[in-house]
C-alpha cells in the first residue's frame, strides 16, 4: 500500500481540449492587457536581464512599437487557436519580455510582468520540446501541435507558477535569515508606507478608509503574536504551492489559497498583483472546469 507522501509527485493533469482552448484564450487576453500602448523609455541606464544582452530602446520608437504591437494582434488569435505556437507564442513571449526588460532597466525593478513572461517562455519551451520529441501517437508538426503538446505547455505553465511562489517563500526565509515570522510586526510600517504611496500617487482623490490606513497598522504593531498568526499562513501557502502540481483539485485549492492571499494584500495594503491573480485563476483554479464540474454535479443531483 502506498503511503500518502508517496503520492506527492508531479502529476500531469489530462485537460480536455476545450479546457486547453479556454486557458490559451484567457492567457492571450492577459498578454494583450499587459502589453503597453507605448513605451516611454528611450534609454536603459540600469540594464538588467535581457537588456544586458541587447539594446531594447528601439521599442520606444512609436512607429516601430505600433508595428510590433500590431503583429501581436495577429499572433494572439493564432496562439489561441493553437496554430504554430512556436512562432505565435514565441513572438508574444519575446515582445513582452523585451518590453518588461526595458521597463525594468530604469533603476526601478517592478514585479508585475516577470511571472507572465516566465509562463509564456516555459510554454514555448514545452512546445519546442514537443516538436523535437513528439508525445507518443502524435505526429511531428510545428503548425498544429497535438493536444498532448498543449497539455505539456499547460503543465509547464503550472510548474513555473508553483516554482515562482516556492522561490518567493524561500527568498523570505533566506533574506530574513530565517527571521521572517519574528520580523512580521514591523509589517505595520510597510502598511503605513504602501498607503502613503497610494495617497501620493492619486493625491486629491478619496483615499482608503482610516480603519485601514491608521487603525490597522496600529493594531498590527500592538499585537505581534496576532500579526504572526495572521500573516504566517501566507508564507506556508507560498512554500506549499508545490502541492498544486499533484493534481487538479490540489491545484484548485492551492490557487484559491494564493488568490485569497493576494486579495487580502489588495484590501489591506492596496497592493495588487493582477497578473499573478489571473495566472492562478487560469491555470490553478481553472474556472471553466469548476463551472463545468458544478453543473455536472447539479444535473446529477437533479436527475
Amino acid at each position: 500500500m502506498r503511503r500518502w507522501w508517496q503520492n506527492l509527485r508531479e502529476t500531469t493533469v489530462e485537460h480536455a481540449p476545450w479546457e486547453l482552448f479556454c486557458m490559451r484564450g484567457f492567457l492571450a487576453w492577459v498578454l494583450w492587457r499587459m502589453l503597453p500602448g507605448t513605451v516611454p523609455f528611450t534609454a536603459q541606464p540600469f540594464p538588467g536581464g535581457l537588456a544586458r544582452l541587447a539594446d531594447l530602446t528601439f521599442l520606444s520608437d512609436p512607429p516601430v512599437f505600433a508595428v510590433l504591437r500590431g503583429l501581436a494582434l495577429v499572433a494572439l488569435p493564432l496562439y489561441v487557436l493553437g496554430v504554430a505556437p512556436l512562432l505565435s507564442l514565441g513572438y508574444l513571449a519575446a515582445l513582452l519580455t523585451a518590453v518588461g526588460a526595458l521597463e525594468n532597466s530604469q533603476g526601478a525593478i517592478g514585479h508585475h510582468l516577470q511571472l507572465l513572461c516566465l509562463v509564456t517562455l516555459a510554454q514555448w519551451l514545452a512546445y519546442a520540446a514537443a516538436a523535437l520529441r513528439p508525445p507518443p501517437g502524435a505526429s511531428r508538426g510545428l503548425g498544429l501541435p497535438a493536444a498532448a503538446a498543449h497539455g505539456r505547455a499547460v503543465q509547464a505553465a503550472k510548474l513555473m507558477i508553483a516554482a515562482a511562489y516556492v522561490a518567493s517563500g524561500w527568498t523570505k526565509l533566506i533574506a530574513s535569515q530565517g527571521l521572517w515570522v519574528a520580523q512580521l510586526p514591523d509589517i505595520s510600517l510597510q502598511l503605513v508606507k504602501t498607503h502613503a504611496n497610494v495617497y501620493y500617487d492619486y493625491y486629491g482623490l478619496p483615499g482608503a478608509p482610516a480603519a485601514l490606513v491608521t487603525d490597522l497598522p496600529r493594531l498590527i504593531a500592538g499585537h505581534p503574536w496576532l500579526t504572526r498568526l495572521a500573516f504566517t499562513p501566507g508564507l506556508l501557502l507560498e512554500l506549499g504551492a508545490v502541492l498544486a502540481l499533484t493534481g487538479r483539485r490540489a491545484a484548485c485549492f492551492v490557487g484559491l489559497g494564493l488568490l485569497g492571499m493576494h486579495v487580502l494584500a489588495r484590501v489591506v495594503m492596496e497592493l495588487g498583483f493582477v497578473t499573478h491573480e489571473w495566472l492562478l485563476l487560469i491555470f490553478f483554479i481553472n474556472i471553466p472546469w469548476l463551472v463545468c464540474t458544478a453543473l455536472r454535479r447539479w444535473r446529477g443531483l437533479a436527475a
Binding site: L8, R9, E10, T38, P40, F46, G48, G49, R52, T97, G100, A101, N104, S105, Q106, G107, A108, I109, G110, H111, L113, Q114, L115, C117, L118, L159, M160, A163, A164, V166, A167, S168, T171, K172, I174, A175, S176, W180, P185, D186, I187, S188, L189, Q190, V192, K193, A196, N197, Y200, D201, Y202, Y203, G204, T214, P217, R218, A221, G222, V242, L245
Partner: protein, 149 residues
Amino acid sequence: MPTAVWKRLPFARLTAVVVLLLAMGEEFPFTRLPMYSTFDPRADYYYVADAAGTPLACEKVFGTSTANVKKMFRARLGALAALRGADEKTATPAERRLAGEVLLAELRATGARRGAAVPAEPVQLRRVEVRRAETAGGFARTEELLAQK
C-alpha cells in the same frame, strides 16, 4: 548515481526551476520575488511636490508611481556613490541632492513622453521616514527635502 537520485526526487523539475530562480536573481524575466522578504524597524516613502511643498499626484502628473520614484532615486544614488567606492547608505547630502535632481529631470522627460501633464515650474522630491513610536499614534515621521528642480 546522480541521475537515480534526481529521478527519485518527488518534484525534481520544480526544484530545478526554484534553484534557477534563486540563483538568477533580478535579471528580467527571472526574479526571486523579493517583495516584503524582510521587515526593517523603519520604512520610508517618497513623493513629488510643487515648489510650495504641495504634493502632486505622481501617477497623473508623471505617469509613474511613488514606489517607482523611490526605487529610481535609490538606484541613481547608489550609482553616484559607487563612483567613490561608497554606497547609498553613506552617500553625502550633495550626492543625494544630485541624484534627486537627475531623477526629477528624468521624471519630467518620461512623463512628457507618456503624455502626462508635467508642470513647467520647479518641483520637489521629498522623503518621509516612518518609525514605530510609543507616542504620535504609534508611528513617528520625519520628512526631508531631497532636491528641487
